[in-house]
């Protein structure tokens, strides 16, 4: 955590001095030193980087950019963005649309991938399985951008079923959420299902499955009772990587569909070169990653009682 903060700090302030940032914001050419100084003091970048020799006592460490801009992130005080808005309240406001997309996408997606993989495993060794695997490889070879562009075009423009983009809070939100969620699920179908299929196949060759078969259990029961439970562990491990993205919102989907979530917030910040927001988002992302790691460890104990939290 401290490491992340140090890295972002170095990236943002030492590689790139506040002078440069001020120049960026005020336009490239014909910038007077006075204007730079003014911008810097207006945004609180006019202090020394790490050590302030002019202040008294504790002020030597606290009156610095490092303290004001980086250490404060630990208490989730994000400060204000480079054009003066409060990042903390922005994030709180934009969190909900992001969640509205990410949560259903994650839940339904996991369900769809697992059931598709199960279907393939159930028909393993047949042409259905083979064509399913080929379909997966083809699906995962297409860039996600194509799905988005084509999906938007087909459903919204040709058939006018759903709005192309935008968002409105409240009960009508589902109309705006449905299409991104569908496309989001479709984007991951190829790679995830193929991965889960290998997990299932690995389990299905083990001894306990053979025992279950020898007992005369029907194939469906074996799959759902025995194989699914044991294959959940590797699946859960892979899911962690997705968790922070859940909250951060899918960068691409949100900006394509014009949803005012955290993902599009970040993209706006990137294209608007608002370093304060990017810094805050990097920090937030790493916090969520760590929370995700802890959650996975907890979920292991739920799936597999042999694993004990130590």
């Amino acid at each position: 955590m401290i490491g992340v903060n140090l890295i972002t700090f170095t990236l943002f302030f030492i590689v790139n001095s506040p002078d440069d940032m001020a120049r960026m914001h005020l336009g490239m050419k014909r910038v007077t030193p006075e204007a730079i100084e003014k911008w810097k003091s207006g945004h609180g970048y006019d202090q020394p980087l790490v050590y302030n020799a002019q202040s008294q006592g504790m002020g030597k460490l606290t009156d610095t950019i490092f303290y004001n801009k980086s250490v404060r992130l630990f208490v989730f005080d994000f400060g204000s963005s480079d054009d003066g808005r409060d990042i903390g309240s922005d994030i709180r406001e934009r969190m909900w649309p992001s969640l509205a997309i990410a949560l259903p996408m994650f839940m339904i997606g996991l369900l769809v991938y697992v059931s598709f993989a199960m279907l393939l495993v159930f028909f393993r060794g047949t042409y259905l399985d083979l064509s399913g695997v080929i379909l997966c490889v083809v699906l995962m070879s297409i860039s996600g951008l194509f799905y988005i562009i084509l999906g938007q075009f087909m459903i919204s423009k040709l058939f006018h079923l759903l709005p192309i983009s935008g968002y409105q809070p409240g009960t009508m939100a589902w109309r705006f959420v449905l299409l991104p969620v569908l496309i989001g699920i479709f984007m991951g179908l190829g790679s995830s299902s193929r991965l889960y299929r290998t997990f299932f196949l690995e389990e299905i060759n083990k001894d306990y499955v053979r025992t279950a078969r020898a007992k005369g259990l029907p194939e469906t029961l074996i799959l759902f009772r025995h194989v699914l439970k044991n294959a959940m562990i590797p699946i859960l491990t892979g899911v962690v990587a997705v968790l922070p993205m859940l909250f951060m919102g899918s960068l691409i989907l949100e900006s394509f569909f014009g949803i005012p979530g955290l993902g599009s917030y970040t993209i706006e910040a990137i294209s608007g070169q608002d370093f304060a927001i990017v810094r805050a988002m990097v920090f937030l992302g790493s916090v969520l990653y760590i929370i995700g790691l802890i959650l996975t460890d907890i979920s292991y104990t739920l799936v597999d009682p042999r694993v004990r939290l130590s």
Partner: protein, 469 residues
């Protein structure tokens, strides 16, 4: 007079190719390393995708030999001036495609522009017509009736040429193989097509036919028509898509080339030395891992932009500037992707360390460095190879997404990501402009699909767990 230009990515790509060739020779000299490769050659899908990958690499290589042409000399000039345009060998080969620039959009195989234009007639009356293109289908007098016939006729010629070419290739292959198998020509020609071969020559020939068809098609018909239309400023879309191959391949290969040394040394060291070395390395990669990749890349690219804006004198040409950005993108992508491989290698070397042969080496007093390089590394190469091939397709796809976010390659550089990005706006036009998207889709899909299929074959051949199934 020409002046060769060595861009950073060019040199690195050349270095990579030399390494691969050296690796091939090394494998050829060691019998025990042959087995997995034989398996790959046996698989027909792997063979076909390998051929396509080779074609892509060849195009990228041709596109990586850059030079600047000298400007015509003027009076009293002391030294030769070179033009600011950096060309590549591929540009020269595709001169007709490159130079046949229309005014604006035109559809594939069109003879007329895509949008109407107001023309003033001789008597001063104004009509709105679709103007004829400057290059696309100029040899036709009445495009409406003649065009399809003309295209079919040319297509027929292309097919004939391909068939002739493939027969020639077949004969050549038969002669070569006859010498190798020490049989006569007729027998070799029959045996070549039979199914039980170590290399499926039939698949190879079929794929070669396909590739030849595409190349002859582009070379023949591309001279007279814009096969995939033109874009907003009238440039041939096919040319753009072919030029984008280099960008995509560089992102896919150089990134792994850059991150490989770090991932391998750090992963091995963490696994072998344990103790504080392990702690430091583990801390390093958990930290890096916890930062969302896109954000890290975005931050780094923003920094680079500021830096380049402050030091404009460092770059002689636009191409060098764009190239620097591409290289930097590779580096930063490498920073975000090395952690996975590093963790994998750490775990694996932890396991290997406990094996008897490493313990024996330790007992004999072999130094740590030597154990790492002689005993651990060779037993991990298959993992490295699999990881490299698997990463490739993901990186090519990532480029497109990053370019969309605005932190990918330089906007002036031709890349599939930039093409898709522009195509989004074009799709909203009325009538719709769909061919840029289609072109980017076809080229990207072929590359990523063959990379995926090839990596599957490589994994199946090298993964010891798979081999016994």
């Amino acid at each position: 007079m020409i002046k060769p230009v060595f861009l950073w990515t060019d040199s690195l790509l050349m270095f990579l190719v030399v390494t691969i060739v050296a690796f091939i020779f090394y494998v050829r000299s060691k019998e025990h390393l042959h087995e997995p490769w034989r398996e790959i050659f046996k698989s027909r899908i792997a063979l076909a995708s390998m051929l396509i990958l080779l074609i892509y690499i060849l195009v990228a290589l041709l596109d990586s030999m850059h030079f600047r042409q000298a400007l015509p000399e003027t009076e009293g000039q002391l030294e030769t001036q070179y033009s600011g345009d950096v060309l590549s060998v591929l540009d020269v080969l595709m001169t007709p495609l490159r130079e046949q620039v229309e005014i604006t959009y035109s559809a594939p195989f069109a003879a007329h522009a895509h949008s109407r234009e107001t023309r003033t007639g001789e008597d001063g009356s104004q009509t709105r017509i679709y103007p004829r293109l400057k290059f696309g289908g100029v040899h036709l007098t009445d495009p409406q009736t003649e065009r399809s016939g003309d295209v079919l006729q040319r297509l027929f010629i292309v097919v004939v040429k391909t068939v002739l070419g493939i027969i020639g290739l077949y004969a050549l292959l038969a002669i070569l193989l006859a010498r190798r198998w020490q049989t006569d020509l007729k027998q070799a020609a029959i045996r070549l097509l039979s199914r039980k071969q170590s290399v499926s020559w039939k698949t190879l020939l079929l794929m070669m036919a396909l590739v030849m068809f595409v190349i002859i098609f582009i070379a023949d018909i591309g001279r007279h028509y814009h096969i995939l239309g033109t874009d907003k400023v009238g440039q041939d879309v096919l040319y753009q898509a072919i030029k984008s191959i280099r960008t995509g391949l560089i992102i896919g290969t150089l990134t792994t080339l850059i991150m490989l040394p770090f991932a391998v040394t750090l992963g091995l060291m963490a696994g072998y030395y344990r103790g504080w070395v392990d702690d430091v390395i583990q801390y390093l990669y958990t930290t890096l891992n916890s930062i969302p990749g896109v954000l890290l890349i975005a931050a780094a690219i923003l920094m680079l932009q500021v830096y380049m804006a402050n030091h404009p004198d460092m770059f002689e040409t636009m191409a060098e500037r764009a190239d620097m950005r591409l290289l930097f993108l590779c580096v930063i992508l490498g920073v975000t992707t090395w952690t996975g491989l590093c963790r994998l290698l750490r775990g694996e070397s932890l396991k290997l360390k406990e094996l008897e042969y490493v313990q024996a080496a330790d007992a004999f007093g072999v130094s740590g460095l030597r154990i790492l390089t002689r005993h651990l590394l060779p037993n991990l190469t298959h993992l490295i190879l699999i990881a490299v091939v698997l990463d490739f397709s993901g990186l090519v796809l990532a480029e497109a997404v990053l370019s969309y976010v605005g932190v990918g390659v330089d906007p002036t550089m031709l890349s599939w990501g930039n093409m898709i990005n522009r195509a989004r706006l074009e799709m909203a036009r009325e009538p719709m402009v769909w061919w840029s998207l289609l072109a980017a889709f076809i080229f990207m899909f072929t590359l990523v699909l063959s990379a995926n299929l090839f990596s599957d074959a490589v994994r199946d051949a090298f993964d010891p767990r798979m081999r016994h199934r």
